[in-house]
């Protein structure tokens, strides 16, 4: 089975969309913010944008599905939900993306001195990672045609341990600085990984 080349990439803060709906939800705010909160959010948005260093790496792999086993070029994994997600695909894109270590430092700093600011920055940063993943997803669609919804380790019955294989396959530590803790958490904290199935008929 074939694997593609490593494709590292980076996005500027202005190239991604940070959705207000998403960050308001993440911070546990109502659908609309009031005066003082709006001012805080505006301030934090600026700070997050200054600290963002979005980097990622993607790599394609052929896939073969024999439910519940999904075989990639680099390993096989048992997962009914991933089998279902990738049904009808013979190829996929795997990627890791991060908002960078600077964001984590910003959150740590405000956790110590202003938890409300830490909460708002944390939420905006999560929305930024989501926005970056959306941008990548759109690029993948543009290149390969119709795709499946992106699927991350930990979704459904896809074991979290799959992070290890995914990060190793994409050489994410070296190319994007995305690493794992002993407890399978991604570092920097504001990072995400996913698999995007490429629909066959469209290829």
């Amino acid at each position: 089975m074939k694997a593609g080349v490593l494709e590292p990439f980076s996005y500027g803060a202005d190239e991604i969309k940070i959705s207000p709906r998403e960050y308001l939800r993440y911070m546990g705010a109502g659908a609309e913010s009031d005066g003082a909160l709006t001012a805080l959010i505006d301030d934090c948005l600026k700070e997050v944008k200054d600290a963002l260093r979005i980097r990622g790496v993607m790599r394609t792999s052929e896939v073969a599905i024999d439910a519940p086993t999904v075989r990639f070029s680099f390993c096989g994994i048992e997962s009914r939900s991933l089998s279902k997600n990738l049904s009808g695909c013979s190829s996929s894109v795997l990627f890791a993306i991060t908002a960078g270590a600077g964001i984590d430092r910003l959150i740590s700093k405000y956790s110590a001195v202003s938890p409300s600011r830490a909460l708002v920055i944390d939420a905006i940063a999560s929305a930024a990672v989501e926005g970056a993943a959306n941008k990548l997803n759109a690029a993948v669609k543009e290149r390969y045609g119709k795709t499946k919804p992106r699927f991350s380790p930990g979704f459904g019955d896809l074991p979290l341990d799959f992070q290890r294989d995914l990060l190793s396959f994409t050489d994410a530590g070296r190319r994007a600085g995305v690493l794992l803790t002993a407890t399978m958490m991604l570092t920097p904290m504001k990072s995400t990984t996913a698999i995007i199935g490429i629909c066959e008929e469209q290829k």
Binding site: G102, S111, V113, A118, L119, L179, A182
Partner: protein, 795 residues
Amino acid sequence: MRNPFSEIKDRAIILDGATGTLLQAAGLLPGELPETWALTHPDAIREVHRSYLEAGSDLIAADTFGANRLKFPEGGEFPLDGIVRAAVTLAREEADAFSAKTGKKPYVALDMGPTGRLLKPLGDLDFEEAVSVFSEVAKLGEKYGADCILIETVNDSYELKAAVLAAKESTSLPVFATCVFDETGRLLTGADPLTAVSILEGLGVDALGVNCGFGPDKLGGVVDDLLKYASVPVIVKPNAGLPVVKDGKTEYDVPADTFAGLLSDMVKKGARAVGGCCGTTPEYICKLAEAVAGIKPVKPEKKEYAAVCSGVRSFIIGPRPAVIGERINPTGKKKIKEALRAENYGEIFDEAVRQEERGADILDVNAGLPEIDEPAVLETLVKGLQGITSLPLCIDTSDPAAMERALRVYSGKALINSVNGKDEVLDAVLPLAAKYGGVVIGLTLDEDGIPDEPENRLKIAEKIVSRAAEYGIGKRDIVIDPLVLTVSADPLAAKRTLDSVSLIKKELGVAVSLGVSNVSFGLPGRDRLNSVFLAEALSRGLDAAIANPLSDMMMGVFASHAALTGADPGFARYIAAEDGKEEKSAVRTGDITLSAAIETGLSSRAAELTAALLETVPPLEVIEGYIIPALDRVGKAFEEKKLYLPQLLMSAEAAGASFDEVKKKMPRGAGASKGGIVLATVKGDIHDIGKNIVRTLLENFGFTVFDLGRDVPPERVLEAALRHGVAIVGLSALMTTTVPAMEETIKLVHEKAPGVKVVVGGAVLTAEYADAIGADKYCKDAMETVGYAKEIYGK
């Protein structure tokens, strides 16, 4: 011990090219660890080495890049010792065979790549654990015959420090270190080239540089910076550009000829060693060797700037004088004393951020209290501070044991405060500066005290400089502090100090610093006196001052001096300092009550209104009549979903600011705590935003919180619960993978501290789940936790 940089002097040193690229061509599968090939495919590894030697490499790196116990744990399929022995031996044998054939004497490097885990506080790997992982490999490399150690592809400055320290500490081999810079010219964790150079030279590497990341076409800026700042030889080992697929095959977009041409230009500018990383092959190395063969190497110059740095950014001392923030120091500060005693560092972190926001360049950190374990506290404090501020730190202690522990775990190159002319002190502290790096502050006092005459202070300064030279510490890494005495005790004290500044600058040519605030001790209008003294000292050439950045007057002097002496081109700092003042006064507009300020979350307004209210209303009444009712209304609105988490927190912070004002007016012991609670995010879990929210709310409602931070082992939770005699322990976990650690902690607390209640929360938890792991209580949010604490403490 053989070092190519001292032996090959007539031309650039040629390193090897990629190993992975060649092994993939030979059949290495995606996900397969290349280091295992030293055992499973020794002939393929020999072939890689042989082809690079024949292409012209002076130094080949053994196949040990990922060989460490985190990737090859004990009891696994491949023993670490076996891998390193096989890999180094294969390289050695090929080098020897090549030597027998050609008479050339190639070098064999032990190759050390990153551990694959991010260090605390960004990740979960402890600094000393990382040092130990690298030490183990370094020792094996030396044992099996490597000539030198090449640390490569590191993209975190803290891990870089761990690797270099380990290599230097556990072997006697020359150490070279190269890191990965991205397109913004920084490491992934933020350090720029100057910062990397400062850390690496401080630790005593024999050469440093850049590898991987990009092709030589995109590394020009980084290489220029490395050459500008480094005094040791610079290594450049880039990729063959970026990979592209051509006719179904992976190729790199910088061809061998272009690669060789670009690198030979870098050699002309001063790079001393060149080679290749991902995508380069013997063809690249061969062309590279030919291209640089006739170029005479540039000898690296000793640079004269003085820099300190954190793990992220640097500060060059001069021409703009440095503001060293003095406020993290228990002397005369009740809050800092209490924070140090209780090991509850929130107040200290506040102080750090406030000073940073007000324009401090470096932060002094002093934890000198007689009744505490200073080495342990200082280490913890430095670890905590480097997580929340990117300013370089000035480690301030007279205890050499505390100094060593702080310098060891510090992620940057610190200002070391201080040595003096006493041999006992010089002998204790200078070796630490030599080992860990740092800029040393030398006080002009000795066994006979502080001399009156500037000439005698100069003599002590000269002694410090010459003793430092014995340890290889150059003048640029020394700052002399000629000491300020109180003018109220001796009217000539300030004049003597100022004359000493001039004299030492003129005669010795080192940077000079002062702790200015001492001058006014015992007199009224201290801020004004300090400011004028500072201005006088700056006009004599003072390079740095330990001062209070929260003083507008002092900061005004610094900013004005820089603006008037051309050290602030464009007046950016001067204008920013003035803007900062305006912003503060702008908050004063609008007319609202204290309750409204708290309920809408306006912290500085709440503090001001509280201070005004305290003029007429007794402290306890302000709490009971204004702050608590406002908080209760906000809490109730949150429970009724009329307002949301961010607003709740903003109100909590405003109430906190208000409490701080009240506390200033309260007699000691009044407004006692409603009870203590230990909080922690469990071992293995690095997410703590939820726990911090709970902390804020609990503190607001009058509870004393002992926040142990994140990734906290069960034993520490138990120890804190027992020591502080609390009735409640609160634990947080975000993911299913860390719930077992939570369960373990609950079990330990229940067993060893019966009666202590454990309340849990976090994204993955539910009431049922909490029950199953033995928790006493599950709380869905911070307000519910406050309710539970009130219930347990019966208030």
